[in-house]
Subunit: 363 residues, 4 copies
């Protein structure tokens, strides 16, 4: 339920307006150099309140490490990371206590659990993802040690798309992405995206988009057919992120219109290794990585919390009503979802690297 | 690896040209009426060799039940189902022993396992899905008992799309789909699809498409946030099907271009129950079913095995070569994937129904 | 690895001399009334430093709840509990850094993980069980709500045994056990045990014993054959406690010498319910609870840390040496293991109650 | 429920009087040489009807391999093994349909599942263990390849005990054990045991005993603290065997009376490796193997099925009655449990060897 993975396992906890959120990473190999600052640095990438296109909630998101690291190296025991909540203002939510917000999990959580923390969405809040990013930071450090790197960026926001890039060159864009307020690779398009987001904000509305992610350096052989295929586990990991409603690998939905002769990636020899000429399969064949870059895309729906008047129901009176959500919401969560997507992919790759034996249990 | 689910659990085994394939369903509640014929009937829906658009391999796919059912009812113990292979002709594959087929798992399986059954794709063959359908038949029977039904159909083949249907009316199409050679809802479009498939076949090529699936009658409350969300588990289940390269829920990738005010489904009262006016979220909010129809789509890539000449490498000599695949391959596997999609969705819904307590452990 | 259970799941973390230890309980039904004080009260039962027979390390073991409870009731989300370490004195351990203590996990942990926290045994310390007791407190509260109670006591210490008790009457002993420094049911024998412990302490030695545990009120039907039998899961849970080296159920090892006609428990009718006349099977038949009291015993080996000179090796020089362990060690951990045994049994019963549907997912 | 293990995973199925029993081994590394005969040979060791002290049911127990092996080597895919039932005579059980046998799981299974296969105990029959032995045969072969061997024998039957042996010498007894009708190491004591069994049989009664098992060659480092400790997983595996009611490791329950200075095993240098002078801990410290022989004992209760008159209840009338069980039952199942104990230990060691990376995923 709140645990993910088989060998490299993550357990998260925490409500949006409770004392804090946290993440326990179990199964990380012992002997990995890891500092609090490295984890903090990933959290800073997700942290809001830095640009005009984001929520104004100030979340310092300072991480404290409670276990699992000793004298700068991992112990192989669970790494517990705690991020206390701050700048919490629950007052705006009282009005929403019995009026579920359309597009949110308010109602389904209530139907499932009956007793819910209605403040700020409780555990259904997007804030939950801060714990994923903390865990992902550990996975990223581990993967980097073995030459695997995951890079994501906003490929499309509000209908504005970036041009196709040379996948193997994506590392070059790392800095551009990190300095872009919308986390994209093309500064010009980025400014258009920013404008579209601010326009939506002014209309008390919101916009969505598409994130593309690329994993470089993954060895052949990751994935456990027939059910725990690499793409299957990636699909689960990504679909579990709030607001994600679709995922595709390689050419994805475009493949519906292609012929087999176009879609198949012919094998070629390159530097005495077998590669594929094209990479329509996105680096995964038969559920197993083939050594080519892994390419994925997810769609992020427009933020559910909007200021416009929407139809809802009053749960006490069981009658229709309307709702206008006040508060400090992101008019577009695509940029902030970028490090979350990276985190989830990193968790899956770390887990499969350990399961397959590519990464050993101790370093 | 070859087991799926937490309470309602499925384990499958078998190679394409080995003695047989099988499926063990563990955790099915005791006391469910279930006959061999009901399982056979689902297998017959998947069985090839019935129409001109399919492989000519004749697979009687007769299921034998080895355990778990006594005097017509399930015992709550594992239900073991065995389907022996027949009409196996491995001769055509000898030529491919050291030349991996582009688009197939031949090479990745070989890199992962070293020792592989090269005959007919071994366990990487699409034939593996017969065991999924057998397991799915048990799940379907159980779900039906509790008012849940899953219906899938070919929504698009070779670029030819069916019109949108009224989701709640999909039950009416059940018979049309089952009698359609391409498993679609629109006989006219179905004939166009057939033609496109035969054209591809004549060109020694193949085509892909999109399957849409709808689950009716699922109660609110299925799904275990934050990682085992209903949509996350569905994404994994579907992505584990061979040839699936993308999945979307509700409006899916279209949501990238929508505004929050369009995408959010307003709540309304209908017959004293809370419903949503639209269903852009596809019946799942916050990872939990909301009682509306669940709507999913998956993309099926064009069949990898094609007769056309393709570039490959000779693994013994480690040099480039070309390959022309002979044999009895489906020029389009979309229709045959329809019951597999239904099976996997049914497995997830059965599992979550048990986990959430909606379906009890004994009937 | 550090997670236990399937529906009611516990994840623990923490090193003995690190910042703190913690426990995350996932899968606890929503709506359960639960306060910090109830958890604190169980921790107080385990807390050392209260009597002369215990270590002098002062551990306030104050628990902080970080998530999962809102306005006095559980949310169905993970309940995170943090206990910070205090009164930590690592200085004594520096001498032991490269000399493993006989009977301890020092060497095996080092061989497994290479990089270890040598201070106070790190995660291999008995202190780890504080997190088990915190999680067990949640399970206990849940079970009590459904009429299930687990009571353990020291049945034997240093060869001094208590008399047999009428199992169904064990509830009457609850207060006596809690106020006994050695956690036993017989004050006179308790004093003998105390004396034996102090004698061992004076000799810089230690003693072990046997804990008996009884679960009352468990319904028939808990246990998932054939591998996840109730007794199998109990055996695992108890054997995972540090210092436990054996477990038996019902008459246990005595059964080796009994005849079938003596060992079998005849069925009788009692108040219109089926009971067994005797309870040699300890309340579990075929791996499933039968509604009678569940009876278990575990053996606790004498504390490994002793002041006497013992043979060891110097890991740097790889040569034999000797060791005398200073510090504040319990000369007998049997009394302090009593609440840990109760906690582990409660976790298993809570999990099986949820799996079998006896306890629902929401209250 | 019917699946065991994390990487090396076993799923079993089958009822005593149904079509057959089977075992699916998932996660066995690819490339292991393995023949049907090797598995058959282990099944023959468990097969009854060979000596006067056993049930007369003739079970040829011929195994058929349905998947996972190709040209004499494992594929890394699930190995499916089927053993069809033969010599089934259900007639004797009709009388017992509504009268549960004391000491059996008849009643608890019925209370749990409602719908049960009453013939021969259904899945609660000891016959279920045939599938464990088949799976264990695969594990044994794998372990042998890496120098690990598991040997069990009857240490005590009906109160008759064998003398202590030099543990490291146990390999020498392999042949004696296999040729002993009671699977023990001492022919003279073996004859006394046989006589005690036949005496019990003549009295329509049964006897129990103790099995000791030794694993040689296990490397240091197996076991995943804090919950999946090696001894914890062994305890679960062994307690899941029908009729096992207790387990101890090393000196086990004797440790209750020992002092720390006696119980601790001092470290010594031997051939430049660290060993322990004694082995009271049974080869496991802190839940992790230390490279010394692993020593375990389990108690097997006397066979529940006895011809003597016993008290039971008539479930239809809900009133007390008596029962005399006819049929071909083992008066002592200790000898036949010996290969089952070996199988379960082998499964745990194989799984932990893979988890820890000691055995790689492909050979």
């Amino acid at each position: 339920m709140n645990t993910f993975g088989r060998i490299f396992r993550v357990t998260t906890y925490g409500e949006s307006h409770g004392p804090g959120l946290g993440s326990i990473v179990d199964g990380c190999p012992s002997g990995l150099e890891l500092t609090r600052e490295e984890i903090q640095s990933e959290l800073n990438r997700r942290r809001p309140g830095k640009t005009c296109v984001e929520t104004e909630r100030k979340e310092p998101d300072r991480v404290e490490i409670l276990s699992g690291i000793f004298e700068g190296r991992t112990l192989g025991t669970p790494i517990s990371m705690l991020i206390r909540n701050a700048d919490v203002d629950s007052s705006k939510y009282e009005a929403l206590r019995d009026i579920p917000r359309p597009g949110h999990g308010d109602l389904t959580w209530r139907e499932k659990f009956h007793w819910v923390d209605w403040r700020g969405g409780g555990r259904a809040s997007g804030r939950e993802t801060v714990a994923r990013v903390a865990a992902g930071a550990v996975a990223k450090k581990l993967l980097r040690r073995f030459g695997i790197e995951v890079i994501a960026y906003s490929k499309e926001i509000a209908g504005i798309k970036t041009a196709e890039i040379e996948i193997e060159e994506v590392r070059r864009f790392r800095k551009i992405i990190d300095s872009s307020p919308v986390k994209t690779i093309d500064p010009r398009r980025g400014r258009e995206m920013e404008k579209a987001i601010l326009d939506a904000k002014n209309e008390k509305d919101s916009v969505g988009g598409v994130i593309e992610a690329i994993a470089l350096g993954a060895p052949p052989g990751l994935g456990e057919p027939v059910f725990d295929k690499l793409d299957a586990d990636l699909a689960k990991a990504l679909m579990s992120i709030p607001a994600v409603k679709g995922i595709e690998i390689g050419r994805g939905f475009e493949l519906a219109k292609m012929k087999g002769s176009e879609a198949n990636d012919p094998f070629v020899m390159k530097n005495e290794r077998i590669r594929t000429r094209t990479n329509n399969c996105g680096g995964i064949l038969g559920g197993i990585s083939n050594g080519m870059p892994i390419i994925l895309r997810v769609v992020i729906k427009p933020t559910s919390s909007i200021g416009r008047k929407q139809g809802s129901v009053d749960l006490k009176r069981m009658e229709e009503t309307s709702i206008e959500i006040e508060g400090r919401h992101d008019p577009c969560i695509v940029p902030r979802a970028v490090p979350v997507v990276e985190a989830m992919i990193s968790l899956v790759l770390a887990d499969h690297s350990l399961i397959s034996g590519f990464i050993p249990r101790k370093l």
